[in-house]
Amino acid sequence: MTLSSMKRLISNGLRSLDRLAPPATVHAHCDIPCGIYDPHLAQIAAHTVVRMNQLINDLAIPDAGAPKAERDRYLNSLGRYVAVKEEHAELVKKEVRIIWGDYFKPEHLEKFPDLHTTVWNIMKLGSKARQNVDLQAAQDLLAEVQKFAEAFWATKGVSTVRQPSRQTSGGELVYPAG
């Protein structure tokens, strides 16, 4: 038996073993520890949820005898607003989850013991904002995301300011100061 055929035999044997009991994973990962995190996107998404609620509330319902084209227009607009509301409420949850899970460390938690509660509230309010047309839930979601953003910047020793959003949704955005 040649060396190479012996090697192949061993290799095949080990591969068969792998199928029975898969080997553990060893990571040669970059895992992109880019260290780039920013709660801004979560805030913008929360503002979008607020805005969609406002648009839905402002949408005039056509009369019972209104022509089909008018009813279609209404339904189409409503559908679009709801779809965007869904998408952005979920985006808030996703963005916050990433920063909470990947960025925040135990020592941060000592300084912000309410962090888990804030994140919990964001998850719940994000779902509530999806389930209903509920401007108050959307405003509450935005308020919690702003608290989260302030905690995030504070862990970096960066103070924050709340400025008017200058968006159609009104309200404020939290920015790092300076």
């Binding site: 792998d18 040669a28 970059c30």
Partner: protein, 108 residues
């Protein structure tokens, strides 16, 4: 049966691993199967150039595959071959020798 087999295999000095990620590419690529010798550093210090499996200092649940750059009796400095795509001692500093679990001896 598979669980029993796994238990028995875990007792052996040679352990199989599957590579994930690109930080050791092209020497070791995602999907490669490796054998590591867990007894390699019982009697001697890791040598520069050795490719080792170590416990991730930032996540004890994970195992990393890196190359030894320098080592003494206590500490080992590891880097990925692919410097642009590696989280290693440049970020987390030297690792304790005890966290280096073994040396790659073969690919299969």
């Amino acid at each position: 049966m598979a669980a029993l087999l796994r238990r028995l295999l875990d007792l052996l000095p040679v352990i199989r691993y599957r590579v994930e990620g690109e930080s050791m590419s092209p020497a070791y690529s995602p999907g490669d199967r490796l054998l590591i010798n867990r007894l390699a550093y019982v009697a001697r210090t890791p040598r520069p150039g050795d490719v080792v499996v170590l416990r991730d200092p930032e996540d004890p649940e994970r195992l990393l595959l890196k190359r030894v750059e320098r080592a003494d009796g206590k500490q080992v400095i590891v880097v990925g071959d692919n410097l642009d795509a590696s989280r290693d001692s440049r970020r987390f500093g030297p690792v304790r020798r005890g966290d280096v679990l073994g040396k790659i001896i073969a690919r299969y």
